[in-house]
C-alpha cells in the first residue's frame, strides 16, 4: 500500500535511501539523453531540438498513467499523495524567472548539476547563480513575503477545476502530448541546427 512512507511500510530513512537511488538513476538518464549540453535546453525555445520537451512530457504522462492505474488497483491512496499548493502570483513570477534562466543559462537546476558533474564550466557558473538566487531569496524573504504568498488557491487539481474526471483529463493530456510531439518534430525539421 502506497505511499509507502506515509503508511509506515518503510521508514523515513529507507525513503531517503530510495530517493538517493532514484536520484542517481534520474541523473544518469538526464546525462545519457544529452541534457548536460546547454544547447539542448535552449533548443526547445528556438525550435531546433525538442528532446527536453519530449523527455519530460513522456515522464509526466508515464507517471500519470501509472498513478491512475495504481489507484484503480488499490495500490496507492491518491488522497495521501502530496500536492504542491498553488500560490498563483509566485507561480507565474517564478515561471517567468525560471524560463528566462533556462534560455540564458541553458540549464534547468537538475541538468546543471548533471553537467557540472561531468566537468562543464558553464554549468558550474550556472550553479553559482543558482545559489546566489537562493541566498537573495532567503535573505530578502521579508521583502517579498507578500508577493510570495499572494493569491493562494490551496491545492487545486486541473481535473477538479475543469470539472472532469481524472481519467478523462489524463486521456486529453495524452492526446495533447502526442499532438505536441508531432508539432515539435515538425519544428525540428523546419529550424534545423546543423552542428551543436
Amino acid at each position: 500500500m502506497a505511499p509507502l512512507v506515509t503508511y509506515e511500510v518503510i521508514s523515513q530513512n529507507t525513503n531517503l535511501f530510495l530517493a538517493f537511488i532514484i536520484g542517481i538513476g534520474f541523473g544518469w538518464v538526464l546525462e545519457s539523453s544529452g541534457f548536460s549540453s546547454s544547447r539542448k535546453l535552449a533548443g526547445v525555445f528556438y525550435g531546433y531540438d525538442a528532446v527536453v520537451l519530449k523527455v519530460f512530457f513522456t515522464a509526466a504522462v508515464t507517471a500519470m498513467i501509472g498513478l491512475l492505474f495504481f489507484s484503480l488497483f488499490g495500490w496507492i491512496n491518491l488522497d495521501l499523495v502530496y500536492i504542491n499548493p498553488t500560490y498563483l502570483t509566485s507561480a507565474i513570477l517564478g515561471g517567468v524567472i525560471m524560463g528566462l534562466g533556462f534560455i540564458m543559462g541553458g540549464f534547468c537546476p537538475g541538468t546543471s548539476f548533471c553537467a557540472a558533474s561531468i566537468g562543464k564550466i558553464d554549468a558550474m557558473v550556472f550553479m553559482i547563480g543558482l545559489f546566489l538566487g537562493i541566498f537573495i531569496f532567503a535573505e530578502g524573504y521579508p521583502v517579498w513575503e507578500g508577493i510570495y504568498k499572494a493569491n493562494f488557491l490551496g491545492t487545486p487539481k486541473l481535473s477538479e477545476s475543469l470539472g472532469l474526471s481524472d481519467g478523462i483529463l489524463a486521456f486529453l493530456i495524452i492526446v495533447a502530448a502526442a499532438i505536441m510531439f508531432w508539432i515539435a518534430e515538425w519544428a525540428e525539421k523546419k529550424f534545423p541546427q546543423p552542428e551543436y
Binding site: P3, F56, C108, T111, G167, I168, F171
Partner: protein, 207 residues
C-alpha cells in the same frame, strides 16, 4: 519511427481505459468485516468510567467527550466538557472535523453503550482514528462514579481504593457526596497512545 507509433498507440489505449473506468474513490484503509469483528471483540474501543473520570479530574486536555443523545437529553444532564452530536448527525459536515482528526481522543457515550458502539463502528469503518466508547454509557457512569456502592469491609485493598477514587472523582466533578479523598493508587489508568493518522508528506520534485 515505427516503435514510436506503437508506443503512442499504447499510451492512447491506456488513456482510453483510464478515462472509461470509474474513479477509485474507496478508502483503502477501510476495515474488512474480519478486522472489525476482531477489533470490537477485543473490546479495545472501550474506556471504562474510572479511566474517563480520572482523565476528567486531571483536566486532561486530550479528551473530548461526545454526547450522542438528543439535544433535549443533553440539556438535562451531560458529562463535564461534553459536546452534543446526536447520533443521526454523526456524518454531517458540521461535525466532520470533530470526528475525523488525530489530536484528541473522542469518547462517545449515550445512556447505554449501544449508540456509542454504533457511532464507533461507523467512524471506524470510515477509517477515522481516535474514537472510543464509554463503557456502559451513562447508566454505568451513574452506577459507578456518581453512586458507587461501598465495598464490603472484607474486600481487597484495590476495591477499597477504587471506591475512594470514585467518591473523590464524583466530588471533584461536582457530585454531592463529600468524603475525605485518599490517594487513588488503586486505579491504574492507562492512557492509550494517540494513534497518528498518516499525514501528507512533503515530497521534493522537479527537474
Amino acid at each position: 519511427m515505427k516503435t514510436r507509433a506503437i508506443i503512442t498507440i499504447i499510451f492512447l489505449g491506456l488513456g482510453l481505459i483510464i478515462a472509461a473506468v470509474p474513479q477509485n474513490t474507496t478508502h483503502p484503509y477501510k476495515l474488512t468485516a474480519d478486522e472489525l469483528l476482531e477489533e470490537s471483540y477485543s473490546h479495545q474501543q472501550y474506556y471504562s468510567p474510572d479511566e474517563v473520570a480520572d482523565l476528567l479530574v486531571n483536566k486532561d486536555p486530550s479528551i473530548q467527550l461526545i454526547d450522542l443523545r438528543s439535544p433535549n437529553e443533553y440539556d438535562k444532564f451531560h458529562l463535564p466538557g461534553a459536546i452534543n452530536i446526536p447520533l443521526q448527525d454523526i456524518l454531517s459536515d458540521e461535525w466532520r472535523d470533530y470526528i475525523d482528526q488525530d489530536v484528541k481522543i473522542n469518547i462517545f457515550y449515550s445512556n447505554g453503550s449501544l449508540y456509542a458502539n454504533k457511532a464507533w463502528m461507523i467512524t471506524r469503518q470510515l477509517g477515522f482514528e481516535n474514537n472510543y466508547v464509554l463503557e456502559g454509557g451513562l447508566n454505568y457512569w451513574v452506577e459507578t462514579i456518581m453512586n458507587p456502592l461501598p465495598p464490603a469491609s472484607t474486600s481487597p485493598d484495590e476495591e477499597l481504593a477504587k471506591y475512594d477514587f470514585r467518591k473523590g472523582a464524583n466530588m471533584a466533578l461536582g457530585g454531592q457526596a463529600a468524603v475525605t479523598q485518599t490517594d487513588d493508587e488503586g486505579t491504574p489508568t492507562q492512557k492509550p497512545e494517540i494513534k497518528r493518522k498518516p499525514k501528507k508528506q512533503r515530497v521534493q520534485g522537479g527537474c
